[in-house]
Symmetry: C2
Subunit: 257 residues, 2 copies
């Protein structure tokens, strides 16, 4: 089943989603952005979509409208967009509750959340990305399932609580792991050491963790309860009390769990 | 230049190091472990090494003695081992200072620290592993460089302060990223969600971080200073106050840095 889809947003998600939807046989009718120039960045990646900076979609032929926007912008655009009768409006956020779409002019609402960190300019294979769906309308949910399954074999229907849990977990698994790498970079930089030194260790430990599970994969001074090393490291970090406290707290949680 | 090397220890490092040294043309003369049976686990991986549970090496033909032991055991074994005249004794730890070898019977001491997370039974390509070296004796340092370079192109000479910095950075980059994944696993598990859901996101965000650096790669509610989401996530985690506090503190550090 092929859909006519309008994309609202011209960021990392839209940049990746537009051509992926077209490759799966759907038609992108319009791409909305605040400026035409931004919208054209996306429309030029597909066959025949119209760029627009106007939120009046009453004449649109699309039946699914995807808000591929930053979390902050979703409510505002949802409130302003004028949609045709029978339209289904979804957002792509892991955080924003379905209810923020309640005051829109859409007949039906939902969530279409691809679990990946997208970057403009870096093509992601959507067929390796899980997609989490939500809608209170059964027919809309079926539509979203068909749309999602045309992109990826990993399609999950989640309630709002599930989606929130998933997003909190994603913050730990993605943003916080990244911040641990950031702190490591800073320590090496401060000591004038080569950033390359830790890369093989990082790749090996993440891949081990994904293979055997993080619980079994844990090593290091905290899991050994090597209090002397923990104390020494904590002292070493005294130039940055906040990072020292992060060191202490995570080590304690490793010991406790 | 080829060396005769004795290995003291039969754990993850020795399991990987013994055949790698042999493949690079060196000769493993003996492998020491507390029990012969443990030592044989390593000697059977190489051509002609003698397993032993005796720390009297006065008759050994080796010139380099590698303590591939857990951090706790290094000082004890170093104090007890009887080494021939002119021998060089090194340990493989990122944490333990060189000075713990000062009271050993070795003529020279040093550190030979391969920066990787080793596991028995999983062969690691040593030529992709950086090796950090330390010694106060110039001739010993040259020997260790030759030994290390026969295994890996990435050889670094570090002082004790450098090595400590490196180890603290490695704890963040390896143990703490792993613990972030552990917390994510727990959140998914608690909500009855599939562990597979986050794997593509984890792989993509780590690879992005290594490519463009963690500072540029950061995304998520903290870097956006999306205080509403941070507050909501913190509330979501209230069932585990320590994890909630970890969430708060890392988010604050992302905002501040």
């Amino acid at each position: 089943m092929k859909f006519k889809v309008a994309l609202l947003g011209a960021g990392n998600v839209a940049w990746n989603l537009a051509p992926a939807l077209e490759d799966a046989g759907h038609e992108i009718t319009e791409v909305y952005a605040r400026t035409l120039c931004q919208a054209e960045e996306i429309t030029e990646r597909v066959y025949n979509a119209r760029p627009t900076n106007d939120l009046d979609f009453s004449e649109s032929l699309a039946e699914i409208f995807i808000l591929a926007l930053s979390d902050d912008a979703i409510a505002e655009v949802a409130d302003q967009v004028i949609l045709p009768e029978g339209s289904l409006l979804v957002h792509t956020s892991g955080t924003v509750p379905l209810e923020v779409l309640a005051y829109s002019s859409a007949s039906y609402t939902g969530v279409f959340y691809p679990l990946q960190s997208f970057t403009k300019g870096k093509k992601i294979a959507l067929d390796e990305v899980p997609i989490a769906l939500e809608s209170e309308d059964e027919e809309s949910l079926q539509k979203l399932k068909k749309l999602a399954k045309s992109l990826s074999p990993m399609v999950y229907t989640l309630g709002s609580k599930d989606r929130k849990a998933l997003h909190v977990a994603a913050v730990f698994a993605s943003n916080f792991t990244n911040h641990m790498l950031r702190i490591a970079e800073e320590i090496l930089h401060r000591q004038g050491l080569d950033q390359e030194l830790l890369k093989p260790l990082i790749i090996e430990s993440i891949s081990k963790s994904l293979q055997i599970g993080a619980k079994k994969a844990q090593t290091g001074p905290a899991i050994r309860e090597d209090l002397e090393t923990l104390e020494e490291h904590h002292r070493f970090l005294s130039y940055n009390p906040q990072v020292a406290e992060i060191y202490r707290l995570i080590s304690q949680d490793i010991i406790d769990s």
